[in-house]
C-alpha cells in the first residue's frame, strides 16, 4: 500500500499503465470513451488493473466506458477505498 498517495493518483497510475497515456491526458469529467477513446476491451484491462492494485472487483455495470474518471473514483470510494 502506497503511503500518502491519494486514491485519485493511484487510479491515474493504473490508467497510465494500462492505456500508455500521460496523466495530463485524463479529463476528469468527460466520458472515457469520448475523452480517451477507450474501447470495451481496454475497460476489461482497467478492471483487472484496479483489482490487482487496489484489491477491488467492479461488476460490468459498475465500470462502464461511458463513465467519467471522477465517477470511477467515486464508485471505488463507495466500496470502502480510503481517499
Amino acid at each position: 500500500m502506497a503511503v500518502g498517495v491519494s486514491l485519485e493518483d493511484r487510479v491515474k497510475g493504473i490508467f497510465q499503465k494500462v492505456l500508455d497515456i500521460k496523466p495530463e491526458e485524463i479529463r476528469f469529467e468527460a466520458p472515457l470513451d469520448q475523452s480517451l477513446g477507450i474501447d470495451s476491451t481496454e475497460m476489461v484491462e482497467i478492471s483487472v488493473g484496479l483489482k490487482k492494485e487496489l484489491g477491488i472487483s467492479l461488476a460490468d455495470n459498475e465500470l462502464k466506458k461511458t463513465h467519467t474518471f471522477n465517477q470511477i473514483v467515486q464508485i471505488l470510494r463507495s466500496k470502502g477505498m480510503p481517499s
Binding site: L19, D20, I21, T41, V44, E45, V48, K51, K52
Partner: protein, 412 residues
C-alpha cells in the same frame, strides 16, 4: 478485358524496409540470415532466421495500439503504409467501400499467443490480456489495416501455408476482374521468430540445421541443401485495373495475367516427388494468361531448399518447359532473406516486379555444388542482366499446395 496492375510496393523484410535498400541487397546477392538472439534458441535444431531489426524506427503505429496487436499486424500496417505511399494512392478521394484487403498468413500471431499462454499458467485467468482473442488469429492484420485506413470492401485472409500470400494476390486480382473492388491491398505477413512458433517450424523437419554458418545455410537446389531458414516480415502491394491506374497517373510496375493452383494429394508435409501436380498448376497459369511456355523469361521458384522439395519443383518445371527449361533462369531470391512462410509469395512477387523493372534476374545464393538431378540454370550466386517480359512465380505449401502466378512487364 482490362488488366490488373501492381501499382505500389511496401516491404518490411530482413533485406530492407524500403524498395531501394531491398533491391540493392538482392542485386548484391547479400545474405541477411543470422542467428536468433532475441531469445535463447540454442537448443533448437534450427535456430537461424531472416530477421527484421529496424521496425520501431519506421513505425507510425502508436504505442497504445502496439499493446493490442501482435508483431505480424505491426509489420503489415507498416508495409501497407509504405505501399499506399508508393502508389501515391489518395484514400481521401477513394470510395473506401470498394477498397479491399487480401492477405496471406500461415501461422497467426504467435508471439502474442504464446506470451499470454505462459501468463495463463503463471498468473491464472486474470493474467491473460483481453486483447489476445483479437491479436493472434491469422485475419487480425486484415482487420487492423481495415481499421487504420477505413477500408470496408470485399476482403479476405488466405491460410495456405507457404503459398498463402501468392494465393491471396491471385484471388485479389480475380476479385478486381469481377468488379467487386476498385483497389486492393494484397500480400501477407509472418512473424515466426518466437519460441513456440520456431519450435512448430522445426518439427516439420524442413529447416536447415547449419546454425554455425547462417549466411550460407539456405542453399536451394544445391547438392548439400538441408532445408530452409525461416524469416519474418510483410509485403503489401496495391492492385487495381490498369485503366484506373492510368486515369490517376499511377505507376504500373507489372500486370498479373495468369494463375493456377492444384493439390498434390500425397503427403501432409512433403510435396509429391514427381512434381506432376505442380506442372499442372503452371500450365493452368499459362493457359489463364494465354501464353506459351516459350514466352516465359524468368521463374521465381518456391525454392524450399529441401532435398525432395527442390527435386520435385525441378521436375515440375521441366515437365512444362521441356527442352527449353534449361535456358530459362530459375532462381530463389529467398535464399538471401529467408522463407517468410505465408508471406513468401508476396516477397517473390515484389522481387520479380523489381527484377522486371531493373532488367536483372536475382540470384540463388549459396549454390556451390550442383546436384545432377537439379540441373536448371538457378542463376547461381550472382545477379544476371536480362530483359524479363513474362515471369512465373511459384509458391508451394505443406499439404501439397501448388500455386503459380504469371506476371507481365508493361514495358517491352
Amino acid at each position: 478485358m482490362d488488366k490488373i496492375a501492381v501499382t505500389g510496393l511496401g516491404i518490411v523484410s530482413p533485406s530492407g524496409l524500403d524498395k531501394r535498400s531491398f533491391w540493392a541487397n538482392i542485386k548484391a546477392g547479400r545474405s541477411m540470415i543470422d542467428r536468433i538472439e532475441r531469445f535463447d534458441a540454442s537448443r533448437y535444431p534450427s535456430h537461424i532466421a531472416g530477421q527484421v531489426h529496424e521496425l520501431d524506427g519506421y513505425s507510425n503505429v502508436s504505442s497504445r495500439l502496439l499493446k493490442k496487436i501482435d508483431v505480424f499486424s505491426h509489420m503489415a500496417l507498416v508495409a501497407s503504409e509504405m505501399a499506399i505511399e508508393d502508389a501515391q494512392l489518395d484514400l481521401a478521394k477513394e470510395n473506401l467501400k470498394r477498397g479491399g484487403i487480401f492477405m496471406g498468413n500461415a501461422i497467426g500471431g504467435w508471439l502474442y499467443g504464446e506470451t499470454e499462454l505462459r501468463d495463463l499458467y503463471l498468473e491464472g485467468r486474470e493474467g491473460v490480456s483481453p486483447f489476445l482473442a483479437s491479436a493472434w488469429f491469422p485475419a487480425a492484420p486484415q482487420g487492423q489495416i481495415s481499421i487504420q485506413y477505413g477500408l470496408k470492401g470485399y476482403s479476405k485472409t488466405v491460410v495456405a501455408d507457404r503459398a498463402s500470400s501468392l494465393m491471396a494476390i491471385a484471388y485479389a486480382a480475380k476479385t478486381l476482374l469481377r468488379g467487386k473492388n476498385d483497389f486492393i491491398l494484397a500480400g501477407g505477413m509472418e512473424a515466426p521468430v518466437t519460441p513456440y512458433a520456431l519450435l512448430c517450424c522445426n518439427t516439420c523437419g524442413m529447416l536447415t540445421k547449419r546454425n554455425d554458418y547462417p549466411q550460407t545455410a539456405y542453399r536451394p537446389f544445391d547438392k548439400t541443401r538441408d532445408g530452409f531458414a525461416i524469416a519474418e516480415g510483410s509485403g503489401v502491394i496495391i492492385l487495381e485495373s490498369t485503366e484506373r491506374a492510368q486515369e490517376r497517373n499511377g505507376h504500373v510496375y507489372a500486370h498479373i495475367v495468369g494463375y493456377g493452383t492444384t493439390t498434390d494429394g500425397v503427403d501432409r508435409i512433403q510435396p509429391a516427388g514427381d512434381g506432376r501436380e505442380l506442372s499442372r498448376a503452371i500450365k493452368m497459369a499459362l493457359d489463364d494468361a494465354a501464353l506459351e511456355p516459350s514466352q516465359i523469361d524468368y521463374i521465381c521458384a518456391d525454392g524450399a531448399g529441401t532435398v525432395l522439395g527442390d527435386l520435385s519443383e525441378t521436375r515440375g518445371i521441366k515437365a512444362v518447359f521441356n527442352s527449353r527449361a534449361k535456358k530459362i533462369p530459375v532462381s530463389a531470391p529467398k535464399s538471401m532473406f529467408g522463407n517468410l512462410l505465408g508471406a513468401s509469395g508476396v516477397m517473390d512477387v515484389i522481387t520479380t516486379v523489381l527484377a522486371m523493372e531493373n532488367n536483372t534476374v536475382p540470384p540463388t545464393i549459396n549454390y556451390l555444388e550442383p546436384d545432377p538431378e537439379c540441373d536448371l540454370d538457378y542463376c547461381p550466386n550472382k545477379a544476371q542482366t536480362k530483359e524479363i517480359k513474362y515471369a512465373l512465380v511459384i509458391s508451394r505449401g505443406r499439404g501439397g499446395i501448388n500455386c503459380a502466378l504469371v506476371l507481365e512487364n508493361p514495358v517491352g
